[in-house]
Amino acid sequence: MKSNIAISAAVILVMTVSLANVQGLEERSQQEGAGYEEILRSLLPGNTEMKGWNITSGPQFFAPQNLWEHINGQAEMYLDYGFEGVVAAEYTAQDSPGSMMIEIYRMQSPRHAFGIYAAERSPHDRFIKTGVQGYVSENVLNFWKGLYYVKLTSFQTSPGTRETLMKLAGVIENKIEGACSEPGLFSVFPDTHRIKMSERFIPKNFLGLSFLKDGYRVEYEEEGDSYQLFLVKNASPDIAQDVFRKYHDFIRSHNESVFVSQKDDYQIVFTKRERASAVFQYGSFVGGVLNRADLSRSEELIKELIQKLKRVE
């Protein structure tokens, strides 16, 4: 009887708290959503800016609560990257069969906008200087600038399609105010053997580990050996130590060969199973070299990273 009462009380408490949270979230989100709609609408090209093109579908607005209706299961990843709102509109040419979809995603911060943009680009794309950066193919042009990730899709490819995409992108780019650049932390990653356009910023579950947040990763290739370097900046050296300890525990639970080395101003753990990895903690940073064929140059790379970190601190 007592346990039933306790369960009932727990259920009531959970439901009360959750409902309050939900209502609070929904109210806040509705208020914020209303604000975003006007901002997002203002970024769409108007009739005078894109002569000969008219909006034939939309604009439609989606918020975190209903993003799923727009992009199905991919919504989860966009939400993880700090999605705040999107406007989607289809434009049709008056004098030709062309039509085009414009989507403008607003993210939590420029870093998050870069993050979602980079998650969907490939080093093999044809890159352009639209916004901070973009790429264009026969019928797709995607770019990011400030808080926004902009995606243009054309459905009729013709000799003039790319030009039209570029023109539309230019109109939107000019409406997004302010200047910004790629996250600065990428500058400390070594340039040698670095794969261009492989930089990633991942806010949650970085490297598949829930305790790693806001991670930066770059791909490298050296004589057929592909590997990654990464950095996570924590709020303080104490937190970094705690994160390093958790990472160490994780490595120990998954690998047979693990050894730790304490240096003057950093600590490092090496491991080798199928591939070799080295993870370090220096000040507020946790970083490392992942998935190398062997450990031979890993510590050199880490020293290079730390030297650059010292310069930017």
Binding site: V11, G73, Q74, A119, G208, L290, N291
Partner: protein, 409 residues
């Protein structure tokens, strides 16, 4: 019989919580085939007439492009990797291809991918011309997408090729696309073909089954679905016809969980689905090592513990269709202006919290002309809830509860 037009037994049978409870921890469906338990503890089921033997838990490679996660999955015994042409603009397929090549393990892994086409969302039909974010639903477009996916996956065939996201029967039976999928199967670019659906699932599944061309159904299926019984029956219909069924959105889906801020007990939600033996495997989207361990570990014991049942119950209740929002919009739809929000609160006390005393106090506290007595004067309840609560059923329950009390007295 009550004034609301339903007796209590019938009500309990049909009510949301009644259905939910009936589904918790109970293997209600017929067995689709024997399970094989390997010495590793991994449990396999057979995917219909494809005869593919797949562990109960597979890896949804949707929002992850981490090669380490896939390496570990293969080490653990995952054998089925599910992805899509559109996920991460192809980067999910690419990372699978990278590992297949690195491990030279193509023949040990089942790969599924999905092809997405333009659609008219309102009318739930495919469009031949590109629209929205996708290219037109044509054989040519399918071949282009598939060629690119195979290149990314570094293979010359996939095991299952899905028509991605069918929102209704007209989509799962769209002839031009069905013909193109059959051709892809005949050409050896895929061993089997299927449809995926997470809208109007029961009708979409039945229509797909009746075409006789599809091998596999990938459907959303979870303990929070309002129509989970209809989905369960459609799944059984598919397996009876020899199709293999794979479940997705087993946690309730991102939309629901994010929207309502619901924390779902992942293991319990997976178990709930896998207790339906007509489901061959599930494809939870995995983004961390912890999730991977948790999800794969479910196979050890599919029986829902009391705590897990309670967790699912709470999540279901928080979903909203169970919990009256007290918005009072229903009152205007009742000719007697009955105090429906208070009665819905009473129902919540009784069925949600198991507190019948509080429920009775709430019912008894209402003025006669605004309480259950007023309901008895109507042959049929016309009150409607804008949030989808079945008011008539709940009033029927409360009347049944009152009748029980008088019986005892």
């Amino acid at each position: 019989m009550t004034g609301a037009g339903m007796d209590r037994r019938e009500f309990i049978r049909k009510t949301a919580l009644g259905l939910m409870t009936a589904g918790l921890g109970v293997s209600t469906a017929r067995s689709a085939g024997a399970e094989i338990v390997k010495s590793s503890g991994i449990v396999y089921r057979t995917l219909g007439n494809t005869k593919l033997k797949i562990p109960l838990v597979s890896f949804g490679v949707m929002n992850s492009d981490s090669p380490d996660l896939i390496r570990k999955a293969l080490d653990m015994g995952f054998r089925h990797l599910d992805t899509a042409h559109a996920y991460l603009r192809g980067n999910s397929e690419k990372v699978i291809g990278q590992i297949l090549e690195e491990r030279k393990c193509r023949d040990q892994v089942y790969i599924a991918t999905k092809m997405l086409f333009a659609r008219d969302r309102e009318n739930k039909v495919f469009l031949r011309e590109g629209s929205g974010r996708y290219g037109g639903a044509t054989g040519e477009n399918l071949n282009e997408q598939l060629a690119e996916s195979l290149k990314r996956l570094r293979t010359d065939y996939v095991d299952i090729l899905y028509l991605h996201s069918c929102q209704g029967p007209q989509m799962s039976t769209y002839e031009p696309i069905m013909r193109a999928f059959v051709k892809a199967r005949e050409a050896g670019k895929t061993r089997f073909i299927g449809i995926s659906t997470h809208a109007s699932e029961p009708e979409t599944i039945r229509a797909a089954v009746d075409t006789g061309i599809w091998d596999v159904i990938l459907t959303s299926y979870n303990f929070m679905q309002e129509h989970k019984e209809a989905v369960r029956k459609a799944i059984r219909y598919a397996t009876e016809k020899g199709l293999g069924v794979i479940a997705m959105k087993t946690q309730g889906g991102v939309r629901l969980n994010r929207e309502k801020n619901i924390e779902v007990n992942h293991a319990a939600a997976l178990k709930w689905v896998l207790n339906d033996r007509n489901v061959c495997t599930t494809i939870p989207g995995i983004t961390t090592f912890d999730q991977m361990d948790l999800d794969f570990g479910v196979m050890k014991d599919l029986v829902l513990s009391d705590q897990e049942k309670r967790d699912l119950q709470i999540s279901s209740m928080l979903k909203g269709a169970f919990y009256c929002q007290q918005c009072r919009s229903c009152v205007a739809s009742c000719p007697k202006r009955v105090e429906i929000p208070a009665l819905m609160r009473a129902y919540m006390y009784a069925e949600g919290y198991g507190n019948r005393i509080q429920a009775e106090l709430t019912v008894d506290g209402l003025p006669a002309e605004r309480g259950l007595n007023a309901c008895r004067e109507c042959a049929k309840c016309s009150a409607a809830c804008s949030h989808g609560i079945d008011i008539r059923q709940r009033l029927g329950f409360l009347m049944g509860m009152a009748a029980d009390r008088h019986d005892v007295a």
